[in-house]
Subunit: 346 residues, 2 copies
């Protein structure tokens, strides 16, 4: 995703230095030799120059904006890595999706986790922002219409950074609700895993039956409950509730259910595999959804102790925690516990 | 769908008289001869007895509850047909999804349109209710978990009717917001057509590109805008807004996008076929989505005149109206006009 954002930047006339981590050395080698990005399967636009991680100082020299697209396990590392090169006035745009639970049960958004690794004298003098909403990288790099939100606590900066990236195919709505945006971006992965469970239950039951019945009805009620629980989490964390139902919530949840990886993990777990087994089957793939559910699982008892979450709150997330943290194999989802706090119901 | 609801009724020990319209004579003949429902491809449960339309008087004799599952073009007809047999105290449960625009631009829900056809002396003495939420008939008849809402203006009756149908696989939440439930149930068809357009745009652009890019990002932002516009329509029509984000809105929208018919219609229209051409290609299929968009298209100018809808309200629906009512071929969706009234955006 980090690489894909080079396309709109290039098209807006910006120079882009694309730096791979040590895990991406092969990608960068290919980019340098052939100018083809092997993951995105496209030729790099002309204003994009690839760099190895060892060349990071040169790459960051003079950058107005630094974009971090490492996976969620690499956030602390990249913060330490870029920290020494940061200059006051720069902006840092975080793409990585996740949440990190602190000792008090607070779920911290990753732009804040990242910034904490920056040197103290520069930390408050750079602007941290993030991207949320439905975006499949291959489509953005293919210059296909994509609508997202850019979040920054500083409203003016949210607008300014959005303006840097906006093209006729990259539609960007700025928001100052950075926390809400990041909560949705993270949770949509967790809940997509939940929606994917239905396919696994179907497999376990013997598959599509003789009359052609799938288990889409279970997936659909789980989709609806997912947006309801994202709304609930936004309330708990002080985010703007309508994000749950806009691009960052429902929109990103929808696009993620159309993708492969997280749905596949859910399907394996629904079929009756433990997380350990599913990890082996999907070796080499980053399972962000499992990491996020684990962090929420750590936070939940502490949030309950503090009276922020009730016993019957978040029944779907609680089922996901049983599967991911306790490695339980569930026979079904708690459908009757869904929607209990929706005022429209009698 | 009407037939599928015989399964939970049977399982709750009720006797079910299944009446086909004149269009369903073959289905009823098959049910009578073989006890196999040819559309649902399942054996009828033992408490279900099939009847031809000519046998309707006998079928309705002694019924506590009458369920109407005709398509939206048949609502007036079925109202006239069952009217003479209605008795005070009976309940009528409407499954048909749609809206009907009156001369003032009011979008009327079909249970009300149906009731208007009943004889005046019984109209106010029967209870009208409806079903909404994500339900693929084949799954309900397969006794697979299904979660829906039953709506009735009389809260006690909503609960009572829900109680008649509820089983361990048919999860029902009652609501007294009959209007909101029906608005969502109808609009989800219209908006699924909108989401399906993205696949047609993809076809028109030459399909998946050399790097594997689809147009899921367009579909996802359209999904999000669909729930936002359902919310807006609920505000206009006085419904409970959170229905847009629960089972009747987001949930039913999701399941409908997993189905074939409405997405296929959207795809044909997005590919560049006019509605007339698409109707020919899909001859024999009921295109409920087109009927609903047409009714909203008739209502919108009148709602604007009355100050209930603003110029920039409902940009996605307006695009759908151009396609369906004006038979325009659109190059794209108005993505930049989406979300303009979402408070989370700057």
């Amino acid at each position: 995703m980090g690489s894909a954002m080079a396309w709109p930047l290039n098209d807006r006339g910006h120079d882009v230095q694309l730096v791979g981590t040590h895990l991406d050395a092969d990608i960068i080698a290919s980019c340098k030799e052939t100018r083809i990005h092997p993951k995105l399967k496209r030729e790099l636009p002309k204003n994009v120059q690839p760099f190895y991680i060892e060349e990071i100082e040169q790459a960051l020299d003079g950058a107005d904006l630094i974009l971090s697209g490492v996976n969620s396990l690499g956030v602390h590392w990249i913060g330490k890595k870029i920290g020494p090169y940061l200059r006051p006035g720069q902006a840092v745009l975080a793409i990585t999706k996740g949440l990190e639970c602190d000792n008090d049960g607070n779920l911290r958004i990753l732009p804040d986790v990242l910034a904490e690794e920056f040197p103290a004298d520069v930390r408050d003098r750079v602007t941290c922002a993030a991207v949320g909403g439905p975006c499949i990288a291959a489509e953005l790099a293919g210059r296909r219409d994509t609508s997202v939100m850019f979040g920054c606590r500083d409203a003016a900066m949210a607008k300014e950074i959005a303006g840097i990236f906006r093209t006729d195919y990259y539609h960007i709505w700025p928001t100052d609700d950075l926390v809400g945006l990041e909560v949705c971006a993270a949770l949509k992965n967790a809940y997509t895993l939940g929606i994917g469970l239905a396919e696994g239950f179907l497999d376990r039951s013997g598959g599509v039956d003789e009359a052609g019945a799938h288990m889409y009805n279970i997936a659909a009620s789980t989709f609806a409950q997912s947006t309801v629980e994202m709304d609930r989490m936004l309330q708990i964390m002080g985010g703007t509730r309508d994000l749950a139902y806009g691009l960052p919530g429902a929109g990103d949840l929808y696009v993620t259910t159309q993708g492969a990886r997280t749905v596949r993990l859910g399907r394996l777990l629904g079929k009756g595999h433990t997380l350990t087994e599913a990890r082996e089957i999907m070796a080499g793939e980053t399972l962000e959804a499992a990491e996020i559910i684990r962090e929420v699982g750590t936070a939940l008892p502490k949030l309950e102790e503090r009276g922020l979450v009730g016993d019957d709150d978040l029944p779907l997330m609680r089922a996901l925690i049983r599967i991911i943290v306790n490695e339980e194999i569930l026979e079904s989802l708690p459908l009757d516990a869904y929607f209990h706090d929706m005022p429209a119901h009698l």
